[in-house]
Assembly symmetry: C2
DNA sequence: CGATGAACATCTTGTTCATTC
DNA sequence: GAATGAACAAGATGTTCATCG
């Protein structure tokens, strides 16, 4: 049995939510997460974001499209990878979120307990 | 920067509290923890408890004494290892607990945030 | 079986490098 | 520097084995 939720699962949850909100590509999501958690002393490593995205693709939740970043191709040729739900993706995501929610609640309960027990 | 608190630190916290309360030896503490967290779907592995105890000794927080378990040596020769605070141990423990408390609060904040952000 | 310990195997992470524009 | 990816190194854990009474 597991202790606390894994970082990977935690990040996947955020990625799914971001895809729901049409927040585009990897690097951007990374920056956003780093920003969000900066004040919590947590800076998700870049590799974890990509790994998580790859896993979500493997699992059939997301699929990828490629796009040039700028609107004017003559200015910016940078290619970015966008993520979208597959046909079953929305369903799978819903299920995944449900499971993670249960795990988050479990973790919160454990941590609360430990504060009560030790302080 | 770290994500959530490590299992090791979490266990050390409990061990320190248990030593404060004169709750004796490794195996016993293991059983107690397993019992406490059974309903949370968490069963700390035996190796982690011993590793944590060894570390606390390394760090100069605890020292060990050995004792025969039963009161009547002719009946039970089982040797157990008891843990106590060293001279500086109480101080070190206090400090350690303070740090862990900060980390626990940080973890709680992160998890709460993630529930807010994703549900 | 209760008790302690170590070894080993693995899974999860963090750091670094490679590549492209 | 923005962006993606993989390789590699290190750490933290889980599982199994060894020993003793």
């Amino acid at each position: 049995m597991a202790f606390l939720i894994a970082q990977r699962a935690f990040i996947k949850l955020y990625l799914i939510t971001m895809v729901e909100k049409n927040r585009g590509y990897g690097y951007q999501m990374l920056e956003e997460l780093r920003n969000e958690f900066k004040s919590f002393g947590y800076s998700p490593p870049q590799s974890e974001i990509y790994r998580a995205l790859h896993e979500l693709v493997q699992e059939g939740v997301l699929y990828r499209t490629k796009k040039l970043k700028g609107n004017d191709p003559s200015v910016d040729f940078q290619e970015i990878v966008l993520y979208h739900f597959t046909d079953q993706g929305a369903e799978l995501a819903k299920l995944y979120k449900k499971q993670v929610k249960a795990d988050l609640d479990r973790c919160l309960a454990i941590l609360h307990k430990s504060v009560e027990d030790n302080y």
